[in-house]
């Protein structure tokens, strides 16, 4: 459905580029409905997501197990391309998934860990404590998250670790302006 035939595609040529237009190949799936239409696909999807939530803690446990194993490999073999990539991907997946699974603070700490791995000029010179504090904090949050009084502690832990990591990255990248700009820039990608 997503492709029109060649005769429907119109190409306008300009000095440096072409503009290619075609009738919307997906127009047939659009349906006009009354404003009072009661169908709520987003609400339905949120309900379905909520019905999965019973599995989130187990999924999160698998993710942190992977992170822990990746760190163990780094401790054993040092930072090679393979161990570095696995540690980064494990942290990156937690950064992306943890908030959905109900562990928002763990997502923040994983993001901080990703920034250290991505922007430290020499991973072998990063104090090991900076890694272990991040990883242990994620493990603790996931294991202790069932108690509500832990949540504010988790958020504070996440905030402080991010501050320590950012201070470290700003210092070690003081002569690398392109990294410094990326470290200091706010995230801009829309999530909603």
């Amino acid at each position: 459905m997503a492709k029109n035939s060649a005769k429907d595609i119109e190409v306008k040529a300009f000095a440096t580029h072409q503009v290619i237009t075609q009738p919307n190949p997906l127009r047939k799936v659009l349906r006009r409905v009354e404003e009072k239409d009661l169908d709520d696909p987003v609400g339905r999807a949120e309900q379905a997501l909520a019905s999965l939530s019973g599995e989130f803690k187990d999924w999160m446990a698998i993710e942190v197990q992977r992170l822990s194993a990746a760190w163990t490999a780094v401790q054993k073999d040092g930072f090679t391309k393979k161990t570095r990539d696995e540690l980064f991907h494990a942290a990156h997946d937690i950064k992306g998934d943890a908030a959905t699974f109900g562990f928002a603070s763990a997502a923040g700490i994983a993001e901080s860990l990703c920034r250290v791995i991505e922007h430290a000029p020499d991973l072998d010179k990063v104090p090991a404590e900076l890694f272990t504090h991040h990883i242990n904090a994620i493990l603790a949050i996931v294991h202790e998250n069932t108690r509500l009084d832990r949540i504010s502690v988790s958020a504070e832990l996440s905030r402080r670790l991010r501050k320590v990591a950012d201070d470290y990255l700003a210092h070690v990248n003081r002569d690398r302006p392109e990294h410094l700009e990326m470290i200091l820039s706010p995230n801009i990608a829309p999530g909603e």
Partner: protein, 181 residues
């Protein structure tokens, strides 16, 4: 007001994380989609793209074999026998300005930062279905028009030549982000 008949759409979901694939499948089925194909790496996704001819691709960035960025570049081959125009929604944990720009320049249609939400996903799908952008082909780019508004006063260095409204004046994404804080 418009609704999408999801049951007429065919999706290809590409993410190496099985939990995220499960979540995406759940959301898409809840929207009403019936045909949702899944791949766990870029190579499999490209094969499935050729075989199933999906209407919309939703892909992660970081994946084995080749990543979501490379997948987008391989789909956006103007001379390919397949469909180079399918909307590509990049769903990723990366959210930095540099990443968004790189994804845009690879031909990604929409960018959605994790954590995923039903609302965010629905809006991206609605946007690619209801508001498709023209495609632009230059020496170095083939993909949906990277312009998001039509300010004719733009005087930036990358303005195109030869159109009535040649270039767009718009604040950088970074400035927009800063002003919204």
């Amino acid at each position: 007001m418009f609704r999408i008949d999801f049951n007429k759409l065919r999706f290809l979901v590409c993410d190496d994380n099985p939990h995220m694939r499960r979540i995406l499948r759940t959301l898409l089925h809840s929207f009403g989609a019936r045909e949702v194909y899944e791949a766990e790496d870029g190579a499999t996704a490209l094969e499935m793209y050729s075989h199933y001819v999906p209407d919309i691709v939703i892909t992660d960035w970081a994946m084995p074999i080749f990543d979501g960025l490379e997948l987008a570049q391989m789909i956006r081959q103007p001379e390919s026998k397949g469909n180079p125009y399918a909307p590509i929604i990049m769903l990723t944990g990366h959210s930095e300005k540099r990443r968004v720009t790189v994804a845009r320049d690879a031909g990604v249609t929409e960018f959605l930062a994790k954590p995923i939400s039903a609302k965010g996903l629905y809006q991206r799908i609605l946007n690619v279905v209801a508001n498709p952008r023209p495609f632009i082909k230059t020496k170095t780019y083939f993909g949906p028009d990277r312009r998001r508004n039509t300010n004719s006063a733009y005087m930036g260095p990358e303005r195109r030549v030869g159109e009535k409204h040649e270039v767009l004046q718009q604040p950088s994404l970074l400035d927009k982000a800063r002003s919204s804080i």
